[in-house]
């Protein structure tokens, strides 16, 4: 019963929170650029407009991939918030990402193709760090279950500072912000037009937006895990991290994929693996 309630709350409120966060993102970015910015509900206006547009495709089946991307993002979030196995959560998350990439390939368009290749490179770059996060957390809490992790007696941040730092480093990538927003050329950058999302329109784009909101809430939930012993602190940190990502987005330019892989793998090794090595040495 409780599980059902959590799932329901997640399904209904996560997109609302996600959309608001996106609106906030645009306002903060605008203020940083001495502009006024759109109203905070702008994401929802965008979403409803997209739903009303005609559905143009290049290949008839391309939108199916996006639909399943959405389904699996929702599945990932549901699994996460109902306290499931963190490794399975990560694998489901990767599965969702792969549906997205395959959708990009399916559109058979050059810009989408480059976007899809870059998206794959992005996945390859962040995956080590996120699995190190799971491993590091396990080494402390001795359980892969999120319900156990949340209920753990001591705050994780004190023993997993490296992992937390590494995780924050990959967040710009997952939120599609500079310096790591190679695959969709989001918001104004048009280097590869819209990258992997180039050939999607109307309802498909709306699904992508929705998936993005769910994903945002899910990732901030991950940040929450590190401070789970005190709810308000955790939420505050999550919002702070989000603000930090926006700040980084407005300050840095996009990097090339070579720099992307090298830097994120380096981050994974130094912060992620480093933290793990320290922990395993301490245990002995």
């Amino acid at each position: 019963m409780k599980t059902f309630l959590i799932v329901l709350i997640y399904l209904v409120f996560a997109p609302l929170v996600g959309g608001l966060l996106y609106g906030l993102d645009r306002i903060i970015t605008a203020r940083m650029q001495s502009r006024v910015g759109p109203p905070v509900w702008q994401s929802f206006f965008d979403f409803s407009k997209l739903l009303q547009k005609e559905n143009l495709v290049v290949r008839r089946s391309q939108n199916l991939y996006i639909f399943f991307y959405l389904v699996f993002i929702i599945f990932t979030g549901t699994l996460f918030f109902t306290g499931g196995d963190i490794l399975l959560v990560i694998f489901a998350f990767t599965l969702a990402g792969i549906f997205f990439v395959l959708g990009g390939y399916k559109t058979s368009s050059p810009y989408a193709f480059v976007g899809a290749e870059r998206e794959l490179i992005q996945i390859m770059s962040y995956e080590p760090m996120i699995i190190f996060t799971a491993i590091g957390i396990y080494m402390i809490t001795r359980s892969f279950y999120i319900r156990d992790i949340v209920a753990y007696s001591k705050p994780l941040i004190y023993v997993l500072p490296g992992i937390f730092l590494g995780f924050v480093c990959i967040l710009p990538l997952k939120f599609r912000k500079s310096p790591f927003d190679l695959s969709t050329s989001h918001h104004g950058h048009q280097e590869i037009v819209k990258g992997i999302t180039t050939e999607f329109s109307g309802p498909a784009l709306a699904m992508l937006e929705l998936a993005h909101w769910y994903e945002t809430v899910f990732l901030l939930g991950f940040v929450y895990l590190f401070f789970s012993h005190h709810i308000l602190t955790a939420i505050a940190v999550a919002l702070l991290v989000y603000f930090f990502v926006i700040l980084v987005d407005n300050t840095f330019a996009r990097v090339k994929w070579q720099v992307l892989i090298k830097s994120l793998w380096l981050v994974a090794i130094i912060f992620g693996l480093g933290n793990i090595i320290v922990l395993s040495l301490l245990k002995k």
Binding site: R60, L88, G104, S108, F113, E127, I131, T198, A268
Partner: protein, 629 residues
């Protein structure tokens, strides 16, 4: 008696091979192969069903006579190898054969100790799993070969048709594989091991081209070196402990048996193409594709990791074991990285095979009960998916005339059924909720408990595998000017085999808990007293995921109605056709998109050098640690 199934499984394929040596008629051969494959598969299933009550069974078999026969055969095989190495002027091979012969002679005649085994043959749950793989997958591949070889010779009239030799060798090989997994007597296992080396040599060199012969000898040399390590390991074991059986070995203290186990594991590493021995497997890709599927991904190389995994308990908590795990992990990481830079489909599959075998070796080196559980799961899933992929690539190669991934663009329209099965195979290699993902989950769990730092190798490697598989999948589904109707004329036999393997890939995702409960977990319990499994909650989640993924192909039944098809965005330069654009001279050009291969970063030369250096260091470490103890 039930136990007769074991000598039956070893001798029946041999008998069929003998009969096939005299059959030249296509139809007769075809019928014989089909029936034999079915019988062998049935035999493996009989073993599974009949052996349910037994945890394990040991049989003495008439050791005296058989051992003598084995000795004679060994001399014959060595003689043939010497002759052929002499003819082709391969001094290293000659040296290795002679060295092996010397070792065998030393052990049999001069060592002064009677090498008598109590039980020569045995089976337990692990052997049953291997038998099923060999029987079912081996059988399917043999049937596939019938259609494949016929078309192969049509396309390659310059290659002498030695199909007879091909099928004889395949059945001899199957017999030898059963021999390996059922042998309790290490000398018998060594003999069957050498037979597989011989079969591999013959099959790689099938086309008799310069390249094929060179690669066959490379494989021969490396596997002979492994065989040499094997026999030296046996000699040391006999000298120090006076036993020659696997079960007795496992009951002795670690420090006593570590060195022989390490040497035999070294043999296993050469057989399963771990770094720095991976070159032979890559070279073996010149062989006809069913050979690659059978020997070099599903069965023979599995024998290598099977042996190492059998001795996993010995490796637990030893530094030598850590070295073994490192070799496996490094192989996994580096082979996965190299696969990114390969655009030849068979080479990608080969490197992926090497990588996954590395994962199994990693599990064996760790040696905990969790690791062994994960390792066996890996073997099962990999055997099925890889066989499927190799066979699909074989069909595709014959239809489109190329092994290049870049030529497989739009295959989902050119050859929809085969492309769909390829996608299933690829999904089975790395995607949740398919098999390999479950195994990877298990490996990670095993590693975090035993040695979290090693997890780094798995983690980086698995990101790399994701990259090259999805790249390939994308190439298959994207559609630019495809040719259509390439699938027509595909033999029913081939399609049947591919369909069965696809069904098994998907079916295994549902049935693996049963397999685990019936076979893997009991085996692990007998060795360690406890086992690992996936708890019900997670199982349900995996099944939900599988259900959701299954909805995907179903959604293709009724789709794309409320959409409007337009051209892709090409900066407005779209020309008359969907996939052309006007260049700056006003000419129409067709779109071309090629994958990223990043040879500068993940090129073979650079990576293999790194791999060779690191793994050689680990081997030295492994041997040193074994000697010290």
């Amino acid at each position: 008696m039930f136990a007769n199934i074991i000598p039956f499984l070893i001798l029946f394929p041999l008998a069929i091979a003998a009969i096939l040596a005299f059959v030249s008629e296509d139809k007769v051969r075809s019928a014989l192969v089909k029936v034999s494959a079915a019988i062998i598969a049935a035999g493996s299933l009989w073993l599974l069903l009949g052996g349910f009550g037994h945890v394990a069974g040991y049989f003495s078999a008439d050791s005296e006579i058989i051992s003598k026969i084995i000795l004679v055969l060994e001399f014959l095989v060595s003689g043939y190898l010497l002759y052929i190495s002499f003819k082709s002027r391969k001094p290293i091979a000659i040296f290795l054969v002679l060295a092996q012969l010397a070792a065998v002679v030393y052990l049999e005649f001069l060592s002064g100790q009677a090498v008598v085994a109590e039980n020569n043959l045995f089976f337990d749950k692990f052997s049953v799993i291997m038998a099923l793989i060999i029987g079912i997958i081996g059988g399917l591949i043999s049937i596939f070969s019938l259609g494949y070889m016929k078309e192969f010779h049509q396309h390659h009239p310059e290659v002498v048709d030695r199909s007879k030799l091909y099928f004889v060798t395949v059945f001899v090989f199957l017999s030898a594989m059963f021999g390996i997994i059922f042998s309790n007597n290490l000398l018998w296992m060594y003999f069957f091991w050498e037979i597989t080396t011989l079969c591999s040599f013959l099959l790689i060199g099938y086309t008799r081209t310069k390249e094929a012969i060179a690669n066959a000898f490379l494989a021969l040399k490396i596997n002979l070196f492994g065989g040499l390590c094997f026999i030296i390991g046996i000699i040391i074991l006999v000298k120090t402990s006076q036993i020659v059986e696997v079960d007795k070995l496992l009951s002795l203290s670690k420090s006593l048996v570590l060195l022989p186990v390490v040497l035999i594991s070294l043999a296993g590493m050469t057989k399963s193409a771990q770094m720095p021995f991976s070159n032979w497997l890559l070279g073996a890709m010149v062989a006809p594709t069913p050979v690659s599927a059978l020997l070099h991904s599903s069965t023979m190389v599995k024998a290598g990791v099977y042996v190492i995994l059998r001795f996993a308990a010995v490796f637990q908590d030893t530094r030598a074991g850590l070295m073994v795990a490192l070799i496996g992990g490094l192989t996994f990481l580096i082979a996965s990285l190299i696969a990114i830079s390969q655009n030849n489909a068979k080479r990608v599959l080969a490197y992926s095979t090497v990588a996954n075998l590395g994962l199994v070796v990693l599990c064996a080196g760790i040696g905990t009960y969790e690791a062994v559980w994960a390792g066996i799961l890996l073997i099962i899933f990999h055997a099925i998916s890889k066989a499927l992929l190799f066979l699909c690539v074989g069909v595709v190669e014959q239809k489109i005339g190329s092994r290049d991934i870049e030529d497989m663009s739009g295959l989902i329209v050119s050859m929809p059924k085969v492309a769909a099965m390829m996608l299933i195979g690829m999904a089975g290699m790395f995607l949740a909720p398919f098999g390999m993902l479950i195994s990877k989950w298990a490996v990670l769990k095993a590693l975090v408990d035993a040695n979290p730092v090693l997890a780094a190798l798995v983690v980086f490697g698995s990101s790399a595998t994701l990259f090259f598989w999805v790249k390939w999948m994308g190439k298959l589904i994207m559609v630019i000017n495809p040719r259509i109707g390439l699938e027509e004329g595909m033999e029913k036999k081939q399609f049947f085999v591919l369909a069965v393997l696809s069904g098994m890939t998907v079916g295994m995702c549902l049935l693996w808990p049963l397999v685990s409960g019936a076979l893997i977990e009991p085996y692990v319990i007998t060795i360690y007293g406890k086992t690992m499994t996936m708890d019900r909650g997670n199982l349900i989640i995996m099944f939900i995921m599988l259900g959701l993924v299954a909805l995907f192909p179903l959604s293709f039944i009724n789709y794309g109605k409320r959409v409007k098809v337009v051209d892709p965005y090409l900066g407005g330069a779209n020309a008359s056709s969907h996939t052309t654009f006007k260049d700056s001279f006003g000419n129409s050009r067709i779109l071309e998109m090629k994958n990223y291969y990043m040879p500068g970063y993940f090129g073979e030369k650079r990576m293999l050098f790194l791999a060779a250096a690191l793994s050689a260091a680990c081997i030295v470490g492994m041997l040193s640690f074994a000697l010290i103890r």
